[in-house]
Symmetry: none
Subunit: 218 residues, 4 copies
C-alpha cells in the first residue's frame, strides 16, 4: 500500500491501531465542535462521534474536556501564527504593506470563522485557557512586529505620522475586521442589510483600508 493511500485511509475513516491519526482525528473533531458550539455547548459524545472514535479515547488522549479545549485552542492559534509568519512585507512600500496586513486580517477571519468563535468564546471565559497556554503566550504574534516595522518605515519615508502605537493600531485593525464577521448576523438583522455578501465585504475592506491609510497620514 502506497503512502498516499494510507493518507487517504486516515482522511476517510480513521486508521485503527494508529495512535497519532486517532489523536489528530479527535483534535480535528474537537476544533469543529468547539468552534460551532463553544466550550459549554460542545458535547464530548459528539466530538467522539465526529472523530469516529470512542468517547473513552478522548479521555485517554486528552484527559478532560477542558484540556481538549485548550489543545483545540492551541492548534487554532498555532495555525494563524503559521499563516502570519508566511507574511513577507519587506519588499513592499509601507502603504502597500499596511494594505496587505489589513487584507490578511480580513481574509483570514472571513475564511476562518471558527477562529472568531473560539476567540469570542475564550474571552467569554475570561481568557482562562489562553492564560495557561504556553503556545498562545510564548509564540508571539509576528503581526505586531510587522506593524511596528511598517509604521517605522512609513514614518521614515514620510507616509505615516509619528507616535502611532503599534499595539493600538493592531487592536484597531483586529477590531474592525473581527467585529465585522463576529457580529455580522446580528447587524444584518438589525440594520436590514446583508453584510455577509461578498460585495459587502469587499466594500467594507475598501472602507477600512482608506480609513486606516488616511488615518495614518502625518
Amino acid at each position: 500500500m502506497s503512502l498516499s493511500s494510507e493518507i487517504l485511509v486516515e482522511a476517510q475513516g480513521r486508521n485503527r491501531r494508529n495512535p497519532e491519526a486517532t489523536k489528530a482525528s479527535i483534535l480535528a473533531a474537537a476544533r469543529m465542535e468547539f468552534a460551532a458550539k463553544g466550550l459549554d455547548g460542545a458535547r464530548v459524545d459528539q466530538i467522539a462521534k465526529r472523530a469516529k472514535a470512542n468517547k473513552q479515547l478522548v479521555y485517554y488522549y486528552f484527559g478532560s474536556k477542558d484540556s481538549l479545549y485548550k489543545a483545540a485552542l492551541d492548534a487554532t492559534y498555532a495555525e494563524i501564527r503559521a499563516r502570519e509568519r508566511e507574511l513577507d512585507l519587506s519588499a513592499l512600500p509601507p502603504r502597500d504593506a499596511m494594505v496587505k496586513l489589513i487584507d490578511f486580517s480580513l481574509n483570514y477571519l472571513n475564511q476562518h470563522r471558527e477562529f472568531i468563535r473560539m476567540l469570542a468564546d475564550e474571552n467569554a471565559h475570561g481568557a482562562r485557557h489562553v492564560r495557561s497556554s504556553d503556545m498562545a503566550l510564548e509564540t508571539n504574534s509576528p503581526l505586531l512586529e510587522l506593524i511596528a516595522e511598517t509604521l517605522e518605515r512609513g514614518e521614515v519615508e514620510g507616509t505615516f505620522r509619528a507616535g502611532v502605537d503599534p499595539l493600538e493600531l493592531y487592536v484597531s485593525i483586529a477590531g474592525m475586521t473581527f467585529f465585522y464577521f463576529a457580529n455580522g448576523l446580528t447587524m444584518s438583522a438589525i440594520f436590514g442589510r446583508d453584510l455577509t455578501r461578498d460585495e459587502a465585504v469587499s466594500s467594507y475592506r475598501d472602507h477600512i483600508v482608506s480609513l486606516t491609510l488616511n488615518g495614518l497620514r502625518p
Copy 2:
C-alpha cells in the same frame, strides 16, 4: 453609576407580594447571570437564588430559560438605545460630534461589560434571539442616524471627505471599541501589557479618535 450596580440594587431586597418588583428582580438577576456566564453557562437555579425568588417564579413570569434570555437581551438593548437617544450632537461642530460619538461608544462599553458579553453570546448563537426580538429589530439604533448626519455636516463644511458609508463607519468604530474590551483579557495576557488600566484605555481612546478624524479627512 454603572449598569451592573443599578441592576444590583433592583435585585436586592425584594418585596413579597409585589409582582412587578419580583419580575423586575428576576430579570435583573437574569441579566447578571447571562452576562457573566452566557446562555449556556447560566443556571436558572442561580438566577432564582440571585433574585431571592422561587425557581418556579422564573417560569411563572418568563416561561422558559430561552424566553428569559430574550427578555434580558431586550432589556439590555432597550437600555443602550435609551442612552443613545440622549445623545445630542446638533450643537457641536462635526469633528467634536464625531469625537463625542466615539467617546460614547468607548465609555458605554467600558462601563457596561455585560453588554459586550451578551452581544458576543448572542452572536455565538447565530443572532437567534435578536432575530425574533421586536425590541432589537424595530427600535433602530439612533447612532447610525447621528453618524450619517455628522458625516453630512462635515462634508458640507469640508472637514470630512465624501463617500463614506455611515454603516461602515459605524461598524469600524463599534469594532475598534468593542474588540478592545471584549478581548482585553486575552490581549493583555498575550502581549504582556495590561490594557485594562485607565491610562491604557485613555491612550487607546486618543488613538482611535485621531485615526478616525484623520481617516475621514478629505
Copy 3:
C-alpha cells in the same frame, strides 16, 4: 334580565359572583379534562382555564384534585344511572326488551366516550374512588334489575332458557359493547379495518344482538 338569558350567560362565559354556576362550570371542565386525559394526565391548571375560573377556586370548591376527580366520577355515574332509569321495557316482549337493552348500552357508550375513558381510568386506579363513592355504590344500576326481569319474563314465555345469571349476562353485554369502543382505535390499527365508521358499528350491533338472542334460546 329573564331567566333564559341568565342561562345563556352561564353557558357562555361564567357568571361572576354566582357560586353555583362557578362550581358547575368547574365540574363540567373537570369531567372533560379527566375524560380526555385521565386522572394522572389531567392538569388542574387546564381545568381552571376551561372553566374560565381561577385555579384557587378549584381548591375552594373541591378541596383537591382527587376529590374533584371523585366528584366528576360521581356526576358521570349519576348521568348514566339517570338514563338507565328512563328505560321502560315493561310493555315490550322479552326479546324486544333485550334488544333494547343492548341498543341502549351500545348507543350510550358510542355517544359518551368520556364514560368509557373514566371507567377505564378508574379501573386502572384499582376502583379506588368508586369504592369510596356513595353515589356509585348506593345508586344501584337499574339495568341489572331490568335484565333480571326480562330474563324471567322470557323464561316464562319460553323464549329464553333458564339458569342464566343476570349479572353475568350484564357483564357480557357490557363487555361486548364497552370493549368495542374502548379498544376501537387499537383494533382498527392492528386489523387494518376501521371499526369507528357508523356502518361498522351498526353491523357489530346486529352481531351481538343475534349472538345474545340466539345464545339465550332454550
Copy 4:
C-alpha cells in the same frame, strides 16, 4: 407460572457488565411499572431502582420513557402472540375448538393482568404507540385466523350458522373476557359480589361458553 413472576425472576439479580441482562432487566422492570401505573403514572426512577440499574442506563439503552414504553408494549404483545401461536385447534371438533379459544382468552387475561392494564392504557393514549409499532401491527393475531377456520369448519359441519364475521366474534369474546377482569374491582364494589374468586370466574366461563356456542347455532 404467570408472566408477572417470570418478569420478576429476570428483574432480580442482575449481572454487572452483562449488557443483555441489564437491558432485559430494565425492560422487565419497565413492564411491571407500566402495568402497575400506566404510562403517566410510571416513574423512570422507580424502573431503574426495580431493575437495580442506574437511571441513566435506562436512557442509554432505551432513549426515552416513551420508547421504553413502546418496547414494553412490544414485549407484551410478542408474548401473547407467542402463546396464541401455540394454540392448535386443528384436531378438535368446531365446538370444542371454540371452547378452547374462549378458555385461552379468559385464562390468559386472568393470569396476565398486566396485559389488560397496558391495553387499557394504550387505548387511553389513543393507540399512539401501537400505531407506530411494527411488532403490534405486523405480527398479526393468529386468533382471528383460528376463529375464521373454526367458524368455517362448524358451518360445513352444520354446528354453526353462516354469516358470522370472524372479527366481530373475536371482538365479542375479547370484550366479554377483557371486561370481566378489567372492571372486576369496580363491579365487585358496585354489585357487592366478589367477582375475583375462582368460583365466580369459573361460573362466568360457563356462561360465556354457553352464550357463545348457543349464539352460534344455526
